[in-house]
Each structure stands twice: as C-alpha cells, then as structure tokens.
C-alpha cells in the first residue's frame, strides 16, 4: 500500500467483492510441526470469496494454528499458502506487510494495545499505512467502525475499562479499520456469556452482509458455527475429518463429528479417566474430612 496515499473513506468503505465463487485463500498440503509435535498434517483447503467458513474442532486440534497460516503469522513446516492465487508463505515480512492489509484478524482475547485508547487502537493501522491523512476524516472512520460494532461513544475508553465482550467488539472494529477483504476470527465467542456471544455472531453476520467480506471463523461453539457458517470444516488430530454445510455436519456419520457437535465425552475417554482414578477420587471426600 502506498504510504503517501491519503486515507479515503469513500473508496475504501466498500471493498471490491468478486461475485464469483473463486477461492481467495488456498492452502496446499500444509504441515506444521512444533518440535516433534505434529499439529497440522498435510491439510489442503480452499476458502471461497465472500463466504463464511467456520473451522471447528476440539481444543488443541490445530484450529488457531491453521487460521494463523492464512495470514502467515506462522510459517508452514511444509506446504503452501496462497492469497488470490499468489503464494505468500515464502514472502519476507516486508512483502507480507502489504498483503496483510487485505486481512482483518480478531484475536481470541482481542489483543488490544493496553496503553492506547479505543480510538487510538482503531486508528493504529490507519496511522501505520497512511501518512498524509485528513484526521477529521479518520475520526469519522473510527466513529463509523465503532458504530458497526455498536460501541460509538467509547472512543476515549481504555481497554482496561471495557468488559470482555466490549474488548472483542473494539478489536473487531480495529480489524475492519483498513476495510479488509478477509476477516479471520479466532474463537470470537469464547469466554462470553450466551447473550454477548450472540451479539458477536450478529456482528459477524452483519459485517459479512454489509461489507461482503470473506470470513473465516475458528470456534468450538457449535451454536455460533451453525448460525454464521456457509460451510463448516472439522479438524481432528491435524486433519480435516468433515467439510460441508451445517445440515451436512449435523447428519455426518463420523462418530468423532457427532461426539463433538453433541458435546459428549466418549466411552473411551471415560474409561481412561476411571483407570487413572480421576473420577473415583473426585467423588470422595478427603480421608481426614470430618464435616
């Protein structure tokens, strides 16, 4: 992005959306290891433009690792990552800086800068990429972004003064500050009560509807997944075990998929717990307990 280019709301507010269903993000045979720990095992995937794809799976199955590869915050051990048919996993950090302005990323805990106010957090990416800027116009942009997440008027608050849900919404306003083509959400509803979680779901739908962005959501909240997804992908032990729309996933025959979407612990896991004595010990009071 040209640093000298002024920030122009009118030409940035609505990104160009390709009406075709071509892939905007593609990964091919992606494998990721951390030491001897294999997290992703030769995963291949294409994310279609202007659609919402939800990646589900149990904790530790590699969902966050996968989503971070889409924006190359992590480099693959092997395999390739493409953005709009351009390979990006082998680019330098400088080259990636430009590519990343096409993305918005909502981190699990928001990752807001503690020392900056809400308005400064949202201005941050704009200040980084547009040197000659009409700051009155930027204030308007901040106001508009906050209004999109229902927090206009919170400009002068600091992250420490916000609730968990508000922090995520501010982080989302910051993620859309550069009018990205792709928004990546890492566990957007985790840690929120059901009502706040549903507010986030509604905002995800609203942004997808109004901005026409491509959306990738990583979650293990099935209610959220069913609500926002055009397509659901389930990861298990670093591999894709199911890929389809919500109805397809609901009726998927794979027992691991059914177990996950119903949120039930398997008999095998229970057997392991019983063998280790964890359940038995948890059911009894300490021997010296006298009431």
């Amino acid at each position: 992005m040209n640093e000298a280019e002024p920030y122009n709301v009118s030409n940035k507010i609505k990104p160009t959306v390709d009406s075709s269903n071509s892939a905007i993000l593609t990964i091919k045979n992606l494998t990721k290891r951390f030491g001897s720990n294999l997290v992703l095992d030769s995963v291949s995937l294409a994310i279609k433009k202007s659609k919402t794809t939800v990646v589900i799976g149990p904790s530790g199955c590699g969902k966050t690792v996968l989503i971070k590869h889409f924006i190359v915050l992590l480099r693959p051990t092997s395999g390739e990552v493409f953005f709009n048919d351009r390979r990006i996993d082998n680019l330098s950090e400088d080259e990636l800086s430009t590519i990343r302005t096409h993305y918005g990323f909502l981190f699990q805990e928001g990752a807001l800068f503690d020392s900056l106010s809400v308005a400064e957090n949202i201005m941050f990416p704009i200040r980084q990429h547009f040197m000659k800027t009409n700051w009155r116009e930027v204030d308007e942009v901040v106001k508009a972004k906050l209004a999109m997440v229902g927090l206009d008027g919170f400009q002068n608050y600091y992250p420490a003064n916000l609730s968990g849900g508000q922090r995520k919404r501010v982080a989302l306003a910051r993620a859309i500050a550069l009018n990205p083509e792709v928004i990546l959400y890492d566990e957007p509803t985790t840690g929120l009560d059901p009502i706040r979680a549903d507010i986030i779901n509604e905002i995800i739908l609203k942004l997808q509807r109004e901005l026409g962005v491509t959306t990738v959501v990583v979650t293990h909240d099935m209610k959220s997944a069913y609500k926002v997804a055009d397509r659901i992908i389930m990861l298990h032990h670093g591999k894709i075990v199911a890929d389809g729309d919500a109805d397809y996933i609901r009726s998927h025959p794979h027992p691991i998929v059914q177990q996950f979407i119903e949120g039930k612990v398997s008999e095998d896991d229970l057997a392991v717990l019983r063998l280790s004595g964890a359940l038995a010990k948890a059911q009894f009071l300490p021997s010296d307990f006298e009431g």
Partner: protein, 270 residues
Amino acid sequence: MLATLGARTVEDVSNAGRFGRFIWRSIAISIHSCASSQTYPLIWTQMNIIGVRSVPVVMITGAFVGMTLAVQAYDQLAGMGLEEHLGVLINISVVKELGPVLAAVMLAGRVGGALTAELGTMNVTEQIDAIRSMGTDPIRHLVAPRVLACLLLTPFLIIYADLLGVLGGALVSFVQLDINSQAYWSYSSYGVELWDLSIGVVKGFFFGGAIALISCYKGFNCKEGAHGVGQACTEAFVASFISILALDFALAVVFKSIYLTFWPLKSIVA
C-alpha cells in the same frame, strides 16, 4: 545421551541464529528509522521512559560508587603517605570503569527488565501478532525506538553517574577524610584525561545497545504465561549483565591498543 546432546546443540545453534537475525534486522531497521519522521514520536516516548526516568537511580548509583571508593582506598594510600592522590584513584576508576559498568548494570535491571516484561506481556497476549496482522513490522514499531533511545541516552546517563561519582568521592574525601581539596583536584586533573572520560561514555553506547537488543529479543521470544514472562526477565538481566562485563573487557583491550598506538611514549613515561 548423544542424541540429547545433538538435539541440544542444534537448538542452541538455531537460537544463536535467531538472535543474530534479530540483531541484524533490529540494527538495520533502527538505522532506517532515524530517517523516518514517523518514528520520532515513538523514540521521544521511549527516551522519556528509558532515559529521563532512569536519571535518579543512575545518579544514586554513581554517588555511592564514588563515596565507597573513597572510604575503601583511603587507608592504603594513607599508609604510603599518598592520601592526596586519592582523587586520581577515585576519579579514574569512576569515569573509566565503575561508573559506566555499574550504571549499565543498574539500567539492565531497571530498563532491561521493564522492556522484557512489557514486550513479553505483549507477546503472550498476542499484541505483537496483532501488530504483524495489521501489516506493521513489530521490530520497526517496538524494537527500533527502544534500541535508539537506549543507544542515545545510555552515554548521557553514564555522564550523570560519573559526575555524581566524582562529587560523591570528593565529598567523602573532604568532609570525612579531611583531604586537602586543592591537592585532591590538582592530582586528579593531572591523572585523569579526556581520553579516560571518553572511554566510559563510548562504553555506554555499546552497553545501551546490548541491553536494548537482548531485552527486546527475550521479550519477543518469551514463553506463555506469567512464569514465561518472569523467566524472560531473569534471562534478559543475566544475559545483559554478562554482555556488559564481556563488552567491558573487549572494549578495554581495544581502547588500550588504540591508546598505545597513538600515544606510545606517553604510556611509557607514565
């Protein structure tokens, strides 16, 4: 056992490579940042945090170094009837060695610890990843201003430490040890040269760079959780301390060679 040793060696070499690359990028980007007015506000902010707020502790460190030297060295010199030479011993020790080294150690604790804790916390709360995800280089935004602030201000802080060290030593010498002030300053001016003062100040430049680079690296690479941040702070201080001592030795050798090259006769006469 061989496999463990091999794995450990590979890990150590790769860590050294990562650190080398980090230093290289940080220095290159810091130099580039000097020409970018966009980074000036960030540098000013860091100069205030790193430099201005360190002045009191550095001055106290310097003062106690000078005062302690006076008390400790007096008996040895008085035994030989050389107590009026106490100023030379105190001042040359302060400006050449103890002032710079102890001020730098103090900075490694105060500034280095704060840098590692701040960047480490940003790392574990994904704030550094957030900066990268917005297309900004975290080294440009976070490391370069801190490195430049440390590089520019550590020499000045060392001058403050030297000044208070000299004054502290003189105060104890005149008030407690009753040394003739005229003789004290006279011998001092004869024994301490601008060269000695310059050595200390130039050392500050290297010490400041080492503290900033090591602390930022440890912050960027700290492990998850409060324990990870705490461990990174400890490692940053230990590594900075050892680097200060190692750099002090290396610079002492270099400066002595330079001195002997340019003023060979003077050193023989002295």
